[in-house]
Amino acid sequence: MKGLLPTTLEPLGRGHRLLGAAALALILAALVAVFVQAPTEKHLGDVQRIFYFHVACAWTAFLSFFLVFVSSLAYLRTRRAAWDMLAVSAAEIGVVFTSIALLTGSIWAKHAWGTWWEWEPRLTTTLLLWLIYVAYLMLRSAIPEASRRATFSAVFGIVGFVDVPIVFMSIRWWRSIHPAVVSGRGMDLDVAMYPAFFLSLVAFSLVFVSLLTLRTALERSRQQLEEMKRRAIFDLGGEVSHG
């Protein structure tokens, strides 16, 4: 039994360290673009610079929840635990980025609209999105049995994703005071702001991949350890009863 235990947790390879370094380098490059290269917006002044990382966080959250959706579908089709691990990892990261997007948006709103919060469609649907995935994580922690937990979460992950396109389209479907970066006419952004904007999107996407690798490895190690514990208890119990 002892020989079956790993000596350490799943090690993160050189590839992951390189990914982390690349993400950090791109974030630094994005910061330079945001604070040095991008022009100061004439109405909002420097506070407009919140926009670049705020949108990047929202984009990363959408990416995370899309991955939860795809992984959940794949889990229900194959019943492979790896898909469930990917789904929970992506959901947790999605909640972190949605939280950041909500908070930074609120700060931007205080300056632009004079209020920290407005119950308008984009903000309300985003808050709902955050609540859906917090509930997803709470649901997981409430179900102890692994396969039941994975099945319920997968169904929840698929249904919950319905809110993502609603968040995106909310400013077109309903009257909203939230600015639209991408409208029916294309990008509604000064061309000089493009480098900072796209660099921030790429940097945060890479941060997402890096965090996802880390979180998935942790989840895999946790489940391996749980399995080892069950087997250790079972084996020792068996030795006792055969003793």
Partner: protein, 81 residues
Amino acid sequence: MADVWYLALAYGIIWLGLFGYLFRLSRQARDLGQELKVLRDVLATESRDEPQWDDAPGFDEEPQAAVGERLAASHPAPGEA
């Protein structure tokens, strides 16, 4: 000046969120490592003590309970800590 305050607050939240999450992940990894070490220690102790188990008092219920207790001690359930 208010501009700079809002900007600093927003970017502060971004870094706090990202590094806070990274810190949480590294703490979870450390806790898992400790749990693994305890499990290895328990199993090593049990396999070393194996030949003498017949003479040990409370043999019938001890080994399984010992694993559970030591793991629980190293990792208290949420709310117990």
